[in-house]
Protein backbone atom coordinates (compact mmCIF):
# COMPACT_ATOMS: atom_id res chain seq x y z
CA UNK A 1 0.00 0.00 0.00
CA UNK A 2 2.86 2.33 0.81
CA UNK A 3 4.39 1.58 -2.58
CA UNK A 4 1.18 2.45 -4.37
CA UNK A 5 0.96 5.80 -2.52
CA UNK A 6 4.50 6.82 -3.44
CA UNK A 7 3.85 5.91 -7.05
CA UNK A 8 0.73 8.08 -7.12
CA UNK A 9 2.65 11.10 -5.78
CA UNK A 10 5.35 10.81 -8.44
CA UNK A 11 2.79 10.54 -11.16
CA UNK A 12 1.08 13.69 -9.87
CA UNK A 13 4.18 15.96 -9.89
CA UNK A 14 5.29 14.63 -13.29
CA UNK A 15 1.86 15.38 -14.71
CA UNK A 16 1.99 18.91 -13.25
CA UNK A 17 5.40 19.53 -14.81
CA UNK A 18 4.25 18.29 -18.20
CA UNK A 19 1.14 20.48 -17.83
CA UNK A 20 3.27 23.60 -17.27
CA UNK A 21 5.56 22.79 -20.18
CA UNK A 22 2.58 22.15 -22.42
CA UNK A 23 1.14 25.54 -21.41
CA UNK A 24 4.47 27.17 -22.21
CA UNK A 25 4.54 25.44 -25.61
CA UNK A 26 1.03 26.73 -26.33
CA UNK A 27 2.19 30.23 -25.35
CA UNK A 28 5.10 29.83 -27.78
CA UNK A 29 2.64 28.92 -30.55
CA UNK A 30 0.39 31.91 -29.83
CA UNK A 31 3.36 34.31 -29.75
CA UNK A 32 4.49 32.97 -33.10
CA UNK A 33 1.05 33.70 -34.56
CA UNK A 34 1.20 37.24 -33.18
CA UNK A 35 4.64 37.76 -34.73
CA UNK A 36 3.44 36.45 -38.10
CA UNK A 37 0.58 38.94 -38.13
CA UNK A 38 2.86 41.82 -37.08
CA UNK A 39 5.61 41.23 -39.64
CA UNK A 40 3.20 40.46 -42.46
CA UNK A 41 1.25 43.65 -41.73
CA UNK A 42 4.49 45.64 -41.78
CA UNK A 43 5.58 44.17 -45.10
CA UNK A 44 2.20 44.85 -46.69
CA UNK A 45 1.92 48.36 -45.25
CA UNK A 46 5.35 49.30 -46.60
CA UNK A 47 4.90 47.44 -49.86
CA UNK A 48 1.68 49.15 -50.86
CA UNK A 49 2.94 52.70 -50.46
CA UNK A 50 2.29 54.84 -53.48
CA UNK A 51 1.67 58.53 -53.31
CA UNK A 52 1.47 60.89 -56.24
CA UNK A 53 1.50 64.59 -55.63
CA UNK A 54 -1.32 66.47 -57.38
CA UNK A 55 1.03 68.85 -59.26
CA UNK A 56 3.56 67.96 -61.89
CA UNK A 57 5.88 69.66 -64.30
CA UNK A 58 6.20 68.81 -67.94
CA UNK A 59 9.04 66.38 -67.40
CA UNK A 60 8.78 64.97 -63.89
CA UNK A 61 5.89 63.35 -62.07
CA UNK A 62 6.23 63.69 -58.31
CA UNK A 63 5.66 60.22 -56.95
CA UNK A 64 6.88 58.31 -53.92
CA UNK A 65 6.89 54.57 -53.74
CA UNK A 66 8.65 52.15 -51.41
CA UNK A 67 11.11 50.93 -54.01
CA UNK A 68 12.42 54.41 -54.69
CA UNK A 69 14.53 53.85 -51.59
CA UNK A 70 16.51 50.56 -51.59
CA UNK A 71 16.44 50.49 -47.81
CA UNK A 72 12.66 50.16 -47.86
CA UNK A 73 12.93 47.35 -50.41
CA UNK A 74 15.26 45.59 -47.98
CA UNK A 75 12.71 46.22 -45.20
CA UNK A 76 9.88 44.61 -47.17
CA UNK A 77 12.07 41.64 -48.14
CA UNK A 78 13.32 41.13 -44.56
CA UNK A 79 9.82 41.24 -43.10
CA UNK A 80 8.55 38.80 -45.72
CA UNK A 81 11.41 36.36 -45.04
CA UNK A 82 10.83 36.50 -41.28
CA UNK A 83 7.10 36.05 -41.80
CA UNK A 84 7.63 32.98 -43.99
CA UNK A 85 10.12 31.51 -41.50
CA UNK A 86 7.67 31.98 -38.64
CA UNK A 87 4.96 30.17 -40.58
CA UNK A 88 7.36 27.26 -41.17
CA UNK A 89 8.41 27.21 -37.53
CA UNK A 90 4.79 26.81 -36.45
CA UNK A 91 5.31 23.15 -37.35
CA UNK A 92 8.14 22.91 -34.78
CA UNK A 93 5.93 24.64 -32.25
CA UNK A 94 3.08 22.19 -32.75
CA UNK A 95 5.55 19.32 -32.45
CA UNK A 96 6.67 20.72 -29.09
CA UNK A 97 3.09 20.97 -27.88
CA UNK A 98 2.27 17.39 -28.84
CA UNK A 99 5.49 15.90 -27.53
CA UNK A 100 5.65 17.77 -24.28
CA UNK A 101 8.79 15.86 -23.50
CA UNK A 102 9.94 18.17 -26.34
CA UNK A 103 13.06 17.35 -28.38
CA UNK A 104 16.05 19.18 -26.95
CA UNK A 105 17.94 19.24 -30.21
CA UNK A 106 14.97 20.68 -32.06
CA UNK A 107 14.75 23.44 -29.48
CA UNK A 108 18.41 24.36 -29.98
CA UNK A 109 17.85 24.47 -33.75
CA UNK A 110 14.81 26.65 -33.16
CA UNK A 111 16.82 29.04 -30.97
CA UNK A 112 19.52 29.26 -33.65
CA UNK A 113 17.09 30.19 -36.40
CA UNK A 114 15.08 32.49 -34.14
CA UNK A 115 18.22 34.47 -33.28
CA UNK A 116 19.22 34.71 -36.94
CA UNK A 117 15.77 35.94 -37.87
CA UNK A 118 15.83 38.39 -34.96
CA UNK A 119 19.05 39.89 -36.35
CA UNK A 120 17.59 40.12 -39.88
CA UNK A 121 14.37 41.73 -38.69
CA UNK A 122 16.20 44.20 -36.43
CA UNK A 123 18.57 45.18 -39.22
CA UNK A 124 15.68 45.82 -41.61
CA UNK A 125 13.59 47.68 -39.08
CA UNK A 126 16.40 49.91 -37.85
CA UNK A 127 17.65 50.69 -41.36
CA UNK A 128 14.12 51.73 -42.33
CA UNK A 129 13.84 53.71 -39.09
CA UNK A 130 17.02 55.62 -39.96
CA UNK A 131 15.65 56.54 -43.38
CA UNK A 132 12.25 57.47 -41.92
CA UNK A 133 14.00 59.72 -39.39
CA UNK A 134 15.91 61.34 -42.23
CA UNK A 135 12.72 61.76 -44.24
CA UNK A 136 11.07 63.51 -41.28
CA UNK A 137 13.93 65.76 -40.25
CA UNK A 138 16.30 66.02 -43.19
CA UNK A 139 19.92 66.93 -42.57
CA UNK A 140 21.30 70.40 -43.09
CA UNK A 141 24.94 69.34 -43.07
CA UNK A 142 24.63 66.91 -45.93
CA UNK A 143 21.97 68.98 -47.67
CA UNK A 144 19.42 66.20 -47.50
CA UNK A 145 15.90 67.54 -47.76
CA UNK A 146 13.08 66.29 -45.53
CA UNK A 147 10.73 64.68 -48.03
CA UNK A 148 7.98 64.22 -45.44
CA UNK A 149 7.02 67.84 -45.81
CA UNK A 150 5.61 67.08 -49.23
CA UNK A 151 4.64 63.43 -49.16
CA UNK A 152 2.40 63.32 -46.12
CA UNK A 153 0.51 60.07 -46.51
CA UNK A 154 3.61 58.25 -47.77
CA UNK A 155 5.40 59.39 -44.65
CA UNK A 156 2.61 58.30 -42.33
CA UNK A 157 2.45 54.89 -43.96
CA UNK A 158 6.18 54.21 -43.73
CA UNK A 159 6.30 55.39 -40.11
CA UNK A 160 3.34 53.20 -39.17
CA UNK A 161 4.76 50.10 -40.80
CA UNK A 162 7.75 50.29 -38.47
CA UNK A 163 5.51 49.62 -35.47
CA UNK A 164 4.57 46.11 -36.58
CA UNK A 165 8.19 45.31 -37.23
CA UNK A 166 9.34 46.44 -33.80
CA UNK A 167 6.49 44.47 -32.23
CA UNK A 168 7.76 41.42 -34.10
CA UNK A 169 11.24 42.03 -32.67
CA UNK A 170 9.94 42.04 -29.10
CA UNK A 171 7.94 38.86 -29.70
CA UNK A 172 10.99 37.12 -31.18
CA UNK A 173 13.03 38.02 -28.10
CA UNK A 174 10.31 36.54 -25.90
CA UNK A 175 10.27 33.38 -28.03
CA UNK A 176 14.02 32.93 -27.64
CA UNK A 177 13.73 33.36 -23.88
CA UNK A 178 10.88 30.87 -23.65
CA UNK A 179 12.84 28.27 -25.60
CA UNK A 180 15.92 28.83 -23.43
CA UNK A 181 13.94 28.59 -20.19
CA UNK A 182 12.26 25.37 -21.37
CA UNK A 183 15.66 23.92 -22.30
CA UNK A 184 17.04 24.55 -18.85
CA UNK A 185 14.08 22.99 -17.10
CA UNK A 186 14.04 19.60 -18.76
Amino acid sequence: MGGVEVGAKDFGSGQKRSGVSRGVAVLDFILRLVAIVATLASAIAMGTTNESLPFFTQFIRFRAKYNDLPTFTFFVVANSIVSAYLVLSLAFSIFHIIRSGGGQKSRVVLIFFDTGMLALLTAGASAAAAIVYLAHKGNTRTNWFAICQQYNSFCERISGSLIGSFGGIIVLILLILISAATLSRR
Partner: protein, 205 residues
Protein backbone atom coordinates in the same frame (compact mmCIF):
# COMPACT_ATOMS: atom_id res chain seq x y z
CA UNK B 1 1.03 -24.40 6.05
CA UNK B 2 4.39 -23.76 7.58
CA UNK B 3 6.04 -24.87 4.43
CA UNK B 4 3.97 -22.48 2.35
CA UNK B 5 4.80 -19.59 4.74
CA UNK B 6 8.45 -20.44 4.47
CA UNK B 7 8.13 -20.38 0.70
CA UNK B 8 6.43 -16.99 0.69
CA UNK B 9 9.06 -15.49 2.99
CA UNK B 10 11.79 -16.74 0.74
CA UNK B 11 10.16 -15.23 -2.31
CA UNK B 12 9.78 -11.88 -0.52
CA UNK B 13 13.45 -11.85 0.52
CA UNK B 14 14.63 -12.62 -2.96
CA UNK B 15 12.63 -9.80 -4.49
CA UNK B 16 13.81 -7.38 -1.79
CA UNK B 17 17.38 -8.40 -2.40
CA UNK B 18 16.88 -7.79 -6.07
CA UNK B 19 15.54 -4.33 -5.36
CA UNK B 20 18.46 -3.76 -3.00
CA UNK B 21 20.97 -4.82 -5.61
CA UNK B 22 19.66 -2.82 -8.52
CA UNK B 23 20.61 0.72 -7.33
CA UNK B 24 24.13 -0.43 -6.51
CA UNK B 25 24.57 -1.56 -10.08
CA UNK B 26 22.99 1.58 -11.47
CA UNK B 27 24.90 4.09 -9.26
CA UNK B 28 28.25 4.34 -11.08
CA UNK B 29 26.68 5.03 -14.48
CA UNK B 30 24.92 8.39 -13.74
CA UNK B 31 27.97 9.76 -11.89
CA UNK B 32 30.20 9.06 -14.89
CA UNK B 33 27.57 10.53 -17.21
CA UNK B 34 27.40 13.66 -15.06
CA UNK B 35 31.16 14.13 -15.14
CA UNK B 36 31.20 13.87 -18.92
CA UNK B 37 28.33 16.33 -19.28
CA UNK B 38 30.04 18.77 -16.92
CA UNK B 39 33.25 18.45 -18.91
CA UNK B 40 31.45 19.21 -22.17
CA UNK B 41 29.74 22.22 -20.65
CA UNK B 42 33.03 23.48 -19.29
CA UNK B 43 34.58 23.30 -22.77
CA UNK B 44 31.63 25.19 -24.18
CA UNK B 45 31.99 27.79 -21.42
CA UNK B 46 35.68 28.34 -22.18
CA UNK B 47 34.89 28.81 -25.86
CA UNK B 48 32.13 31.21 -24.78
CA UNK B 49 34.65 33.29 -22.81
CA UNK B 50 37.04 33.51 -25.77
CA UNK B 51 34.24 34.57 -28.14
CA UNK B 52 32.99 37.11 -25.62
CA UNK B 53 36.38 38.80 -25.40
CA UNK B 54 36.66 38.90 -29.21
CA UNK B 55 33.17 40.36 -29.51
CA UNK B 56 34.08 43.02 -26.93
CA UNK B 57 37.18 43.89 -28.94
CA UNK B 58 35.18 44.14 -32.18
CA UNK B 59 32.53 46.33 -30.56
CA UNK B 60 35.19 48.57 -29.02
CA UNK B 61 36.86 48.91 -32.42
CA UNK B 62 33.59 49.85 -34.08
CA UNK B 63 32.82 52.46 -31.41
CA UNK B 64 36.23 54.10 -31.63
CA UNK B 65 36.27 54.02 -35.45
CA UNK B 66 32.94 55.81 -35.63
CA UNK B 67 33.66 58.14 -32.75
CA UNK B 68 36.85 59.45 -34.29
CA UNK B 69 35.41 59.85 -37.79
CA UNK B 70 36.02 63.41 -38.76
CA UNK B 71 37.22 65.02 -41.92
CA UNK B 72 37.84 68.58 -42.97
CA UNK B 73 38.14 69.23 -46.66
CA UNK B 74 41.21 71.22 -47.75
CA UNK B 75 39.22 73.91 -49.57
CA UNK B 76 36.93 76.42 -48.01
CA UNK B 77 34.84 79.40 -48.94
CA UNK B 78 34.79 82.70 -47.15
CA UNK B 79 31.92 81.77 -44.89
CA UNK B 80 32.26 78.13 -43.92
CA UNK B 81 34.60 75.20 -44.00
CA UNK B 82 33.52 71.84 -45.35
CA UNK B 83 33.59 69.52 -42.39
CA UNK B 84 32.06 66.14 -41.67
CA UNK B 85 31.91 64.60 -38.24
CA UNK B 86 30.00 61.67 -36.84
CA UNK B 87 27.69 63.87 -34.80
CA UNK B 88 26.42 65.66 -37.89
CA UNK B 89 24.21 62.65 -38.43
CA UNK B 90 22.09 61.63 -35.43
CA UNK B 91 22.10 58.02 -36.63
CA UNK B 92 25.87 57.89 -36.19
CA UNK B 93 25.57 59.35 -32.68
CA UNK B 94 23.09 56.58 -31.89
CA UNK B 95 25.60 54.10 -33.34
CA UNK B 96 28.39 55.29 -31.07
CA UNK B 97 26.18 55.24 -27.97
CA UNK B 98 24.68 51.82 -28.74
CA UNK B 99 28.02 50.16 -29.54
CA UNK B 100 29.51 51.70 -26.40
CA UNK B 101 26.70 50.12 -24.36
CA UNK B 102 27.28 46.75 -26.07
CA UNK B 103 31.04 46.95 -25.41
CA UNK B 104 30.44 47.79 -21.75
CA UNK B 105 27.94 44.94 -21.41
CA UNK B 106 30.34 42.44 -23.00
CA UNK B 107 33.17 43.47 -20.71
CA UNK B 108 30.91 43.26 -17.64
CA UNK B 109 29.61 39.83 -18.65
CA UNK B 110 33.10 38.28 -18.59
CA UNK B 111 32.84 37.51 -14.82
CA UNK B 112 29.51 35.73 -15.46
CA UNK B 113 31.18 33.70 -18.15
CA UNK B 114 33.96 32.77 -15.73
CA UNK B 115 31.32 31.68 -13.20
CA UNK B 116 29.89 29.42 -15.92
CA UNK B 117 33.33 27.86 -16.42
CA UNK B 118 33.81 27.27 -12.71
CA UNK B 119 30.31 25.86 -12.19
CA UNK B 120 29.45 24.25 -15.51
CA UNK B 121 26.17 22.64 -14.47
CA UNK B 122 24.50 25.75 -13.00
CA UNK B 123 21.64 26.97 -15.19
CA UNK B 124 20.90 30.40 -13.67
CA UNK B 125 24.01 32.32 -14.88
CA UNK B 126 23.60 30.81 -18.32
CA UNK B 127 19.96 31.84 -18.53
CA UNK B 128 20.92 35.37 -17.50
CA UNK B 129 23.66 35.40 -20.13
CA UNK B 130 21.27 34.21 -22.85
CA UNK B 131 18.75 36.91 -21.93
CA UNK B 132 21.30 39.72 -21.94
CA UNK B 133 23.07 38.39 -25.04
CA UNK B 134 19.78 38.44 -26.95
CA UNK B 135 19.20 42.06 -25.93
CA UNK B 136 22.76 42.87 -26.96
CA UNK B 137 22.16 41.25 -30.37
CA UNK B 138 19.13 43.46 -30.84
CA UNK B 139 20.95 46.64 -29.83
CA UNK B 140 24.06 45.97 -31.90
CA UNK B 141 22.08 44.93 -34.98
CA UNK B 142 19.88 47.98 -34.75
CA UNK B 143 22.90 50.29 -34.49
CA UNK B 144 24.65 48.53 -37.37
CA UNK B 145 21.56 48.40 -39.58
CA UNK B 146 20.69 52.07 -39.11
CA UNK B 147 24.27 53.18 -39.75
CA UNK B 148 24.48 50.89 -42.78
CA UNK B 149 21.38 52.52 -44.26
CA UNK B 150 22.95 55.98 -43.89
CA UNK B 151 26.30 54.77 -45.24
CA UNK B 152 24.55 53.25 -48.26
CA UNK B 153 22.83 56.57 -48.84
CA UNK B 154 26.13 58.42 -48.46
CA UNK B 155 27.76 56.15 -51.04
CA UNK B 156 24.97 56.14 -53.60
CA UNK B 157 22.73 59.09 -52.92
CA UNK B 158 19.12 59.00 -54.04
CA UNK B 159 17.92 60.77 -57.12
CA UNK B 160 14.22 60.51 -56.26
CA UNK B 161 14.64 62.19 -52.89
CA UNK B 162 17.32 64.54 -54.26
CA UNK B 163 19.85 63.34 -51.70
CA UNK B 164 23.46 63.88 -52.74
CA UNK B 165 26.10 61.17 -52.30
CA UNK B 166 28.50 62.83 -49.87
CA UNK B 167 31.07 60.04 -50.10
CA UNK B 168 32.37 61.43 -53.35
CA UNK B 169 33.78 64.39 -51.44
CA UNK B 170 34.45 63.07 -47.95
CA UNK B 171 36.28 59.87 -48.88
CA UNK B 172 38.24 59.31 -45.65
CA UNK B 173 35.19 59.94 -43.50
CA UNK B 174 33.23 57.48 -45.59
CA UNK B 175 35.86 54.78 -45.32
CA UNK B 176 36.11 55.16 -41.57
CA UNK B 177 32.36 55.01 -41.13
CA UNK B 178 31.97 51.98 -43.41
CA UNK B 179 34.68 50.18 -41.43
CA UNK B 180 32.82 50.89 -38.21
CA UNK B 181 29.63 49.37 -39.64
CA UNK B 182 31.55 46.24 -40.69
CA UNK B 183 32.94 45.98 -37.15
CA UNK B 184 29.46 46.14 -35.68
CA UNK B 185 28.23 43.35 -37.95
CA UNK B 186 31.16 41.17 -36.86
CA UNK B 187 30.08 41.81 -33.27
CA UNK B 188 26.53 40.77 -34.15
CA UNK B 189 27.73 37.50 -35.73
CA UNK B 190 29.82 36.69 -32.65
CA UNK B 191 26.92 37.53 -30.34
CA UNK B 192 24.56 35.22 -32.26
CA UNK B 193 27.14 32.48 -31.92
CA UNK B 194 27.29 33.17 -28.17
CA UNK B 195 23.51 32.83 -27.84
CA UNK B 196 23.54 29.47 -29.63
CA UNK B 197 26.47 28.29 -27.46
CA UNK B 198 24.59 29.17 -24.29
CA UNK B 199 21.55 27.32 -25.62
CA UNK B 200 23.65 24.20 -26.31
CA UNK B 201 25.20 24.41 -22.86
CA UNK B 202 21.76 24.70 -21.25
CA UNK B 203 20.69 21.36 -22.69
CA UNK B 204 20.35 18.70 -20.02
CA UNK B 205 21.96 15.54 -21.32
Amino acid sequence: MEKSEATTIEVAETSRERKGKAPLLAAPVPADHHAKAAGNKRGVAIFDLILRISAAAAALGATIAMGTAEQTLPFFTQFFQFQASYDDLPTFSFFVIAMAIVTAYLVLSVPFSIVCIVRPVAAAPRLLLILCDTLAVTLATSAGGAAAAIVYLAHNGNSDANWLAICQQFTDFCQRVSGAVVGSFITVALLIFLVVLSAIALKKH
